[in-house]
Assembly symmetry: C2
Homo-oligomer: 214 residues x 2
Amino acid sequence: MNTTDSIKGAPLPSIRRLPQYLQLLRQMQTKGRIAVSCTHLADDLGFTSTQVRKDLAVTGIIGKPKVGYITEELIASIENFLGWNNYSDAFLVGVGNMGNALLGYDDFRLHGLNIVAAFDANPEKIGKNVHNCEIFALDKMYELAERMHIQIGILTVPAAAAQSVASEMVLAGIRAIWNFSPIALEVPDSIIVENVRLYSSLAVLTSRLANTNK
Amino acid sequence: MNTTDSIKGAPLPSIRRLPQYLQLLRQMQTKGRIAVSCTHLADDLGFTSTQVRKDLAVTGIIGKPKVGYITEELIASIENFLGWNNYSDAFLVGVGNMGNALLGYDDFRLHGLNIVAAFDANPEKIGKNVHNCEIFALDKMYELAERMHIQIGILTVPAAAAQSVASEMVLAGIRAIWNFSPIALEVPDSIIVENVRLYSSLAVLTSRLANTNK
DNA sequence: TAGATTGTTAATCGATTAACAATC
DNA sequence: TAGATTGTTAATCGATTAACAATC
C-alpha cells in the first residue's frame, strides 16, 4: 500500500455527498442550532442514518452519543476535509456559455474556489470584463499560470480545443483540471481530472423517460 | 419482480457511459468507419473491453464475432435506448447564469432535448429572447406546460425557489426534472429527478488536491 | 437509570473484472 | 483453418445496509 492508496481511503460517493451535508449544516447554524444527529440529517436528505455516520466519519469528526455532532465542529471538519476552509486561485479557459455562467457564480469562494482570471481564443472578448473577471488572450495563459502558481484550471472550451488546452495547462504547472468538455482528456497520472458530464446526466433522465413511457 | 424493477435492469453507471460511446461513434462514422470493436472503444476511453461489451449489451445491440459492431447499427441502438432518436420538448425555468448557458447549447437536439420556452420571475427579462428562445413570466409556466403536454422541466432557479417551482412543475404534468439547484427536491415517486451537482464534482477535485498536498 | 445516539463489525447488494466457450 | 472477437458465467471488489455493543 503506497501513499496514494491510503489517501484514496475515502469512498468517492461519500465525498460527493459531503457538500449536501455542508449546505444543510450551514443553514442550521444560521438558525442557531448547536448540535445535530445523523437521523436528522438522514431524514432531510433521504439517506439512511448509518450512511450519514459513515460519510461524516470520513472527515475525522467525532460525535457524542446521545447528543450527535456539534454543528460548528462538523462544519469545520467537512470544510477542512474538502479544502474549503480556504480557497484556491483558479484560471478559467473558454468564455463561452458555460464559462460565462461559472464566472457569474458568486459562491464558489464558499466552496474552495476563487477564479482570478479568464482566457479565450476569440480576440473580440479579450480585455473585456465578465462578472468582474478580466479576459486575457489564450496564449497568455501558460505564462501567467506558471508565474502565479495556479493549481486549478477550469476547462470550458469547445470539444475540439479541449485536449490541447489541457496539455498546455499541465505544462504550465496546473495540477487539477475541472473539465466541462465531453472529452476524455489524456494527461499524466499525477494530474487530477474531474469531469462534469452533462450528457451523462441527461442520458439518465431521458432513458428513464423513454423506458417508462413504454 | 415487477415492471419497474425489470426496466431498471440497466446499471446506472452503464447508462452514464453511453453518451461517451455515442460521441466517439459519431466521430468514427463521419470518418467512414463501418465497424468497430470493443477493444478499440475501450482503448480510446480508458475502459476495459469487457466493460464496454456489457455497457453496449444494455442497449440490445448484437455484435458479430471477429468483426465487432456495425457503427451505424450501434449508434442507432444507443440513441434508441436513450430516447435520443427523437427529441422531447422541454421548458427551462430560471434564466440566470446557468439557465442562460443551457439556452445557448445548440446540440441538445442531438441529445434528445429541445428547449421550447424559458421562464423567469424577473419582470425585466420577460418578453426578451435569449439564444432564440422567448422568456415568459413564471406564472405562465403552469398553464403552458399543461397545454403543450411538456414532459421535461429544466430547473435553474436559485436554491430558495427550487422546491416551489419543482412542485408547480409536477402539478403542471411535467414528468421529469433536470435539477441544477443544490436542493434535494421533494416530489412524488412517479416523477423522475436527475440532479446535476456541481459542488459534488468540485468536492472531489478539491479534496484530492487538499489530500495530496499534505 | 433509561434511552437515544455514536462507532464498528458483519451481511448484503451491485458493479467491475477475469476467464473462457461460442462464433464467423 | 486459425485467430480475433463476442457473449456469458464466475470471481472479485467496493459500497451500502443491518445488527449491535459502547457511551453519555
